[in-house]
Symmetry: C2
Subunit: 105 residues, 2 copies
Amino acid sequence: MKVAHFSETREFDPKVMKRFTIHDSEWFRIINFNLSAGLTFPVHSHDLDGQLSIQVMEGEGEYLGRDDSAIPAKAGDILVCDIREPHGVRATTDMRILVTIAPPL
Amino acid sequence: MKVAHFSETREFDPKVMKRFTIHDSEWFRIINFNLSAGLTFPVHSHDLDGQLSIQVMEGEGEYLGRDDSAIPAKAGDILVCDIREPHGVRATTDMRILVTIAPPL
């Protein structure tokens, strides 16, 4: 049993996305990304089985997908997609997200 | 790609914990539990490989474990434990938690 405190990784850089690994095991990985307003987590995918969730903890922006698709993303929203599906995030305001990947890459 | 809205399952019952499945696949399951102040999600475990996270989204209380152990739990805290480890939650205030289990039971 291990408790992480999400409040302790509330750091932003206006130029680059900040990344904090909250948990990593053979079962899943949890990563906190903090994006300053205007930053984009570029669309990407991996040719691997598995799924991931992208949970918006704070702020708002858009979930990005295949062919320039964009879906509104705000605090409380949880996207789930296959690791193989193109996915990304664009921040309109400062934005904190929590990504869970199973199995971890 | 599928987006769930955590704000849509903000329902409490003073007598029983409310449960909403946010996602379920062969990779992981995400469940939202809402506990009114005073309610307990009893300590339990399953004899299966895998891990789970218990994320406090709102409110506060305690993470419960083996031998009556209790760890403070407040919004932003994320507990990770093996599915085999005894785990539970006690709500001091109305409390919303998000549980991710991989692989799903």
